[in-house]
């Protein structure tokens, strides 16, 4: 009898324990990792000019670039109700470059005549609603024929109690390696061309970049918000391009030579204003200074106009002015006594203008009645530089949710 009583007591105890477990609600809700957004971007870019750095500041700058990008954004919520975002970004550029083709004009075998640039990245961030913080880490990789890059980015952001202000801090490092491909007439005896199948050795040099970005965004009122960004950056290693030729006043020839480090300080300011019911005014100003002697000012104005509730047109205009780095001189104007020299017009002094139009369609029920295909955008821009270079770009974006 004692055994029966004991057994019943144990069973009742177990049942009670089981009952207690089943009625206690779980402290969290399990949510699966869910695909939130897909962005597909296709872009075509073409430029022409007559200041190629590879031929010492003269010759064609013709370049075409066809770029594709896909990014996937996945989200989930964990036991502590923190939102995790995982973003995969895959980019591929295929370009043909007449300027780089002139590294070795006799054999037309230069590595970059036609090349593919692949750069994937993965980013993970955690948003804590209670603390109003977001922390993130991102890894990136980039490869071209003569260049490889590994990148690491860390980020932290904190919003104010009313979510009207946010301060964010980002830190990034890129560890790059150059294949030192030299023009054939300047290669030392026994130095390789860098081409496939050439067993003669060539040098590999590092180029590392570090940047910190501090941003403050603020909602001023129901229609106006601003953002200030300060982004100091430091680069060290091989900062010159090894196959850029230099021609001296006396007719001598060598390759570009620039200092082994560079400190940059860009400061950006955005102001976005919703004017009336249909027009958004997006303005941007950037000031830049570095220790190579360059200063730059850039202003950008874009005004998306909502033609209907789901169609908007965005005309844009950008003006930029930069001064030359102190090591720049055009073709044939460097002296043999100069310590550093470059004839790369991308770091010369010039004004540039970029103007164009974007059209965006975003019907409430999705495009063509498919709820997932949320929006498409087509953007065309024309770039004019005071050095004579012109470029055109066309970009198509499709967003799926």
């Amino acid at each position: 009898m004692k055994k029966i009583c004991l057994s019943v007591s144990v069973l009742l105890g177990l049942l009670r324990a089981g009952y207690g477990q089943s009625v206690t609600p779980p402290a969290y809700e399990t949510r699966k990792l869910k695909l939130e957004e897909i962005n597909l971007v296709s872009s075509y870019y073409q430029q022409d000019g007559n200041n190629s750095a590879v031929t010492g500041g003269i010759g064609t700058e013709h370049l075409t670039d066809f770029a594709q990008s896909i990014d996937l954004v996945l989200k989930t919520t964990d036991r502590k109700n923190r939102q995790h975002t995982l973003a995969f970004d895959f980019n591929i550029d295929h370009y043909t470059s007449a300027s780089s083709d002139n590294i070795d004009p006799l054999t037309v075998s230069s590595a970059s005549r036609s090349d593919t640039h692949i750069y994937p990245s993965v980013a993970w961030s955690v948003h804590n609603d209670d603390r109003r913080t977001t922390q993130g880490v991102a890894l990136s990789y980039s490869t071209e024929y003569d260049y490889k890059s590994y990148g690491l980015n860390l980020s932290f952001a904190k919003a104010s109690a009313d979510n009207n202000r946010e301060i964010s801090l980002k830190a990034g490092a890129f560890f790059d390696t150059w294949k030192v491909i030299l023009p054939p007439e300047l290669r030392p005896e026994g130095y390789g061309s860098g081409a496939h199948g050439d067993r003669d050795p060539i040098d590999y040099k590092p180029r590392n970049s570090y940047n910190v970005s501090l941003s403050l965004s603020q909602i001023i009122n129901k229609r106006l918000q601003v953002l200030l960004t300060v982004e100091p950056a430091f680069q060290q290693g091989l900062l010159s391009t090894p196959f850029h030729r230099i021609y001296f006043q006396d007719g001598g020839e060598t390759v570009e030579r620039l200092p082994g480090n560079r400190l940059k300080l860009p400061i950006g300011f955005r102001l976005h204003y919703f004017l009336g019911d249909r027009i958004v005014v997006r303005t941007f100003y950037r000031y830049y200074i570095d220790d190579w002697g360059m200063q730059a000012h850039t202003v950008n104005l874009e005004t998306p106009i909502k033609l209907t509730s789901f169609v908007s047109a965005s005309p844009f205009y950008r003006f930029s002015h930069q001064s030359a780095v102190r090591y720049f001189a055009p073709y044939g104007q460097h002296k043999q006594t100069d310590q550093y020299y470059t004839s790369d017009y991308d770091i010369s002094g010039f004004n540039s203008q970029f103007l164009g139009l974007g059209i965006r369609l975003a019907p409430p029920g999705g495009l063509f009645g498919t709820g997932h295909w949320q929006s498409v955008e087509l953007r065309y821009g024309h770039y004019i530089r005071s050095t004579g270079m012109v470029a055109n770009s066309i970009t198509f974006l499709a967003k799926l949710k």
Partner: protein, 74 residues
């Protein structure tokens, strides 16, 4: 760097003046602020434009684009 100091002071002054005019905007009042066109970061469709500025102009950074990686030599 003296010019830089003056510019920094000017921008800081503008920010301070701007912030002093702020009003607290409630979540239900943010329909305009939350509009997709009002997003403060550069949009995806501008991604490749930023890449070509980075390569074609010597002054990179503070524009939402990357500040390192990739030679940009073509």
């Amino acid at each position: 760097m003296k010019k830089l100091t003056a510019s920094k002071a000017l921008i800081a002054s503008l920010i301070v003046l701007g912030l002093s005019g702020c009003v607290s905007v409630k979540e239900y009042q943010k329909s305009r602020i939350n509009d997709a066109e009002m997003e403060l970061s550069a949009r995806k469709s501008e991604k490749f434009e930023q890449n070509f500025y980075l390569y074609r102009e010597g002054a990179a950074g503070a524009n939402g684009g990357k500040s390192g990686g990739g030679c940009g030599c073509n």
